[in-house]
């Protein structure tokens, strides 16, 4: 359906007569054809103030090459390390799983060994279930508990000390469970009864 045409106006508007010899203004000089524009709107950036009093010193460097070089070498080093590990150290593999044969000592993977160590001191519900849940939930809540604005260690001594104590405790427990627990998960010395641990 075509639009009803206004009978008063011609179908094709007459070409507007070109303004004869218009004076070239400053705006005309800045006008650039769209095709020649080498930029587009990519993002809106909040302006700090209407009048920028002082331009902050630019402390940035180009991602290419400065960041990418570091990332490349870090990835390369890890790759070489993994390759060497893979060539020279075999992943452990024991006999076929057998529910009827209990091994001398059964240890959890190393990152859960701290919890297994706790099992010998506390009630299983505390050590095995409540602790891991509390640790994870507690860790997630850290930013909402610690509301101090400072970033430097000297400005947040309590947080740093508490976190360090927690890390060291975890480390000591894991270390003890790896090296000083022998048959039947009883205390043992690694240089006497050997190492009872598999990665």
């Amino acid at each position: 359906m075509s639009e009803p045409r206004d009978p008063q106006r011609p179908a094709v508007p007459a070409a507007a007569p070109a303004p004869p010899e218009r004076r070239v203004t400053e705006i005309d000089k800045q006008r650039v054809p769209m095709a020649a524009k080498p930029y587009r709107l990519l993002a809106l950036v909040k302006q700090d103030a209407v009048v920028r009093v002082q331009k902050e010193p630019d402390d940035t460097v180009m991602t290419w090459p400065h960041l990418l070089v570091i990332e490349f070498f870090a990835a390369a080093m890890i790759s070489v390390f993994l390759l060497l590990m893979g060539v020279f150290a075999n992943a452990p593999l024991e006999e076929l799983a057998n529910p009827n044969v209990t091994p001398e000592v059964a240890k959890a993977p190393w990152y859960f060994l701290g919890l297994q160590e706790l099992l010998t001191y506390f009630h299983p519900t505390v050590a095995g279930a409540l602790t891991p849940v509390l640790v994870l939930v507690g860790a997630a809540l850290i930013p909402y508990v610690d509301r101090s604005p400072g970033n430097r260690p000297s400005e947040r001594k309590t947080a740093v000390v508490l976190f360090s104590i927690f890390c060291i405790l975890g480390l000591v427990m894991t270390f003890f469970a790896i090296f000083f627990r022998g048959p039947g998960y009883s205390p043992s010395l690694p240089w006497v009864s050997g190492l009872h641990f598999a990665l």
Partner: protein, 242 residues
């Protein structure tokens, strides 16, 4: 011009090459900016980063390396999947075959195993680094929470993979690990039944851990990784300097 230089030039001028790489090797600032911005692999980075962010001793690349290990584990893991059946009758034999008959099977399994331990270790270290820099402070609070979720997923990925070789280490480590879940107050029996698919580690457990290990957990982890990286950018890059 030597023969190799001419071949090199010919390749670089070919339509295929120029359709693959839309610009020549970037040598000035503008083209380097374009290279980072236009590449799907590099656009995870901003074009410019703050100076302290490229100091190795600030981040030790721990987060980036954790992600790199995630990729290595995905690739080696997919290769291992071709030769592994999650059946309590076949799994152990499959591992023996992977080690003795599959091309680079032993190496791939070794790298997968050591890479997994290393990833857990690096994620722990990354978390400590972030804490000591106070990098969880506003506006980055929620990204810390995403990080804790990623730590949990990393642990679960490693733990679920631990069972797959179906040897004595695997069987008893998982028995110990899941026994802990059995001590949960109120929900102990349902949790254990859900994890094990039975009252003790068996075929159902193997299948559950396998599906979690190769499909569910990697997908969820990839999702949270995307959120983690996106938020780093939106929060103005990494925190600091101290």
């Amino acid at each position: 011009m030597s023969f190799f230089e001419r071949v090199d030039q010919g390749i670089r001028r070919s339509a295929v090459w120029r359709s693959l790489f839309r610009q020549p090797y970037p040598r000035d600032e503008r083209s380097r900016a374009m290279a980072v911005m236009n590449s799907v692999w590099l656009h995870i980075h901003p074009v410019r980063v703050r100076q302290h962010a490229v100091k190795f001793a600030y981040t030790f690349c721990l987060g980036g390396l954790s992600f790199f290990l995630f990729l290595v584990l995905t690739i080696t893991g997919v290769y291992l999947m071709f030769f592994y059946v999650p059946s309590s009758n076949l799994a152990y034999t499959n591992i023996l075959e992977i080690q003795s008959e599959v091309v680079f099977g032993l190496l791939t399994r070794n790298i997968h195993r050591w890479g997994a331990h290393l990833m857990v270790f690096f994620v722990f270290l990354h978390m400590m680094r972030v804490f000591y820099h106070g990098a969880y402070k506003p506006p980055r609070e929620f990204n810390w929470v995403v990080g804790v979720i990623l730590l949990f997923l990393t642990l679960m990925l490693s733990f679920s993979g631990y069972l797959l070789p179906w040897d004595q280490i695997a069987y008893w480590a998982i028995t110990i690990g899941t026994n802990m879940a059995g001590f949960a107050p109120l929900v102990n029996t349902p949790t254990k039944l859900l994890l094990l698919g039975g009252i003790e580690v068996g075929q159902n457990t193997l299948l559950r851990f396998y599906v979690l290990h190769v499909v569910f957990l990697p997908l969820v982890a990839a999702l949270f990784l995307a959120v983690h990286f996106w938020r780093i950018r939106k929060d103005g890059g990494i925190s600091g300097p101290l």
